[in-house]
Subunit: 257 residues, 2 copies
């Protein structure tokens, strides 16, 4: 069954990293063994979980470009026993250029993750805000994708281009790649714009849209400054409740058929 | 004096496009001749100003890769007599790969803009959320940069890497490249996190931080869905007032010396 899931949207700041961190933590808390791969040179998933990277540490860059064993890069039991993390650093930006001239340049990540698949119930990949070679690697490595959708105009508009890229990867490299869910993020029910974008998304994607919606909640923005997932920073917050509900829905979609 | 200004920050969703559109409009309303270059394959500045691009239209992609004359791409007097726009399309993402093997690949945009400089008082460039080859082209073409800084943790953390890239461009390609301002965006004075990030920014950047701060204002998120700058969508909004104030401060910084 599907276990490698890319959290993707080329629009910036729509909640990819916040979703990757908190969905991973939610799944780990539900006793699933989870690997969170930080695929973004910004390294927000890495720092948002309080992980520091030294000059001699192995990271995703060395795995993709140097052929390092991913197990040398993985940090085990980050805050939760079942949560492992494969960190990213700014060097990863160089990978996009260096990969251009490599054979099977779109499949490097898929190849690197293959030996790990049996170690985990889920491998989540936090994608960067672009549709370049790094993101294509992540889509080609994935069995399924989750699309965080901020309830605003530019994010809604960008979906067309994202879906075109997903189609291209499905047809060219990864038949069976599917969207398992669209997650409405930073939803504010008092705002007309928020409600309109949510309506448009539900009309177009229908039941693909998660029933759980992530409200705007400052606790979600504070948690990474303490290096913690929301459930350990403030379990009582609406942000924590929402991400626990998403984890539950995610499990239902991927485990019950 | 300095006239080419890149609006840049590799963190996604910090308000680069919203600032590029509304600062450009504010300057045009102040009777400056302005060219807004959309440097992002997402094309948000293009669509946010209501511009549609047909298959036969010349855009930034053709200018950078095909050597087309930028004047064939420029849309004149967009909503305001003094505001011109050089549009972007998703093809621009391809430019990042295609430029890798070109001679002087970091200077393509600088070369393309050179003949236009005498036509305008200011050329603003909306950058994508990355520090890749496209962004490096924009930094190398610029005389100065404005950094929109969303008042949250990940955005603050990303500044180190941004400043390192700016230093690299200054030392390698563009001596004299300077930061003319850091603009606090989506500021919410009721939030501890917002105030803390603002304090950290002012402590580090001192007077480089614009006195004007952009508050969170839903009208700013609605305006692009009508294809308008904020001043034409809702001149009475706090968002419009804030961007008019930024335009005034910008002019003071660049024109009085
Ligand atoms: N529901 C929410 N409520 C309040 N703040 C949020 C919420 N979700 C995310 N944030 C904050 O919004 C900002 C953008 O979120 P995040 O970094 O997760 O988006 P992203 O899509 O990963 O961005 P990028 O495109 O740069 O990778 C961050 O400062 C984050 O802490
Ligand atoms: N001050 C504000 N108040 C409310 N919403 C805002 C404000 N500034 C920007 N927005 C909205 O926040 C979202 C992100 O802003 P914007 O697209 O300008 O950021 P960006 O840095 O250009 O993003 P990207 O990294 O994807 O290019 C957009 O939906 C925009 O309409
Ligand atoms: Mg992110
Ligand atoms: Mg933008």
């Amino acid at each position: 069954r599907k276990k490698i899931v890319a959290i993707t949207n080329q629009k910036g700041g729509v909640g990819k990293t916040t979703t990757a961190i908190n969905l991973a933590a939610g799944l780990a808390a539900a006793e699933r063994r989870v690997l969170l791969v930080d695929g973004d040179p910004q390294g927000n998933a890495t720092s948002g979980l309080g992980i520091t990277v030294g000059d001699n540490d192995t990271t995703l860059y060395e795995v993709l470009i140097g052929g390092s064993d991913p197990r040398d890069a993985i940090r085990r039991s980050v805050h939760l026993p079942n949560l492992d993390v494969l960190p990213a650093t700014p060097d990863l930006a160089g990978a996009e250029v260096e990969l251009v001239t490599e054979p099977s340049r779109q499949m490097r990540l898929a190849q690197a993750l293959t030996p790990l698949v049996s170690d985990y119930d889920y491998i989540l990949i936090d994608c960067p805000p672009s549709l370049g070679l790094l993101t294509v690697n992540m889509l080609a490595a994935a069995d399924a994708i989750v699309i965080p959708l901020q309830c605003e105009y530019f994010a809604l508009e960008g979906l067309t281009q994202l879906l075109r890229t997903v189609d291209m990867v499905r047809e060219g490299m990864k038949p069976g790649l599917s969207v398992i869910g669209v997650l409405l993020t930073m939803y504010d029910s008092r705002l007309n714009l928020s409600r309109q974008v949510a309506e448009d998304a539900r009309e177009y994607f229908k039941s693909l849209v998660f029933k759980s919606v992530i409200p705007r909640n400052i606790r979600l923005a504070e948690a990474p400054s303490f290096g913690k997932p929301i459930m350990l920073y403030d379990i009582a917050s609406v942000g924590a409740t929402a991400y626990m509900a998403v984890a539950k829905e995610f499990i239902e979609r991927l485990e019950t058929h």
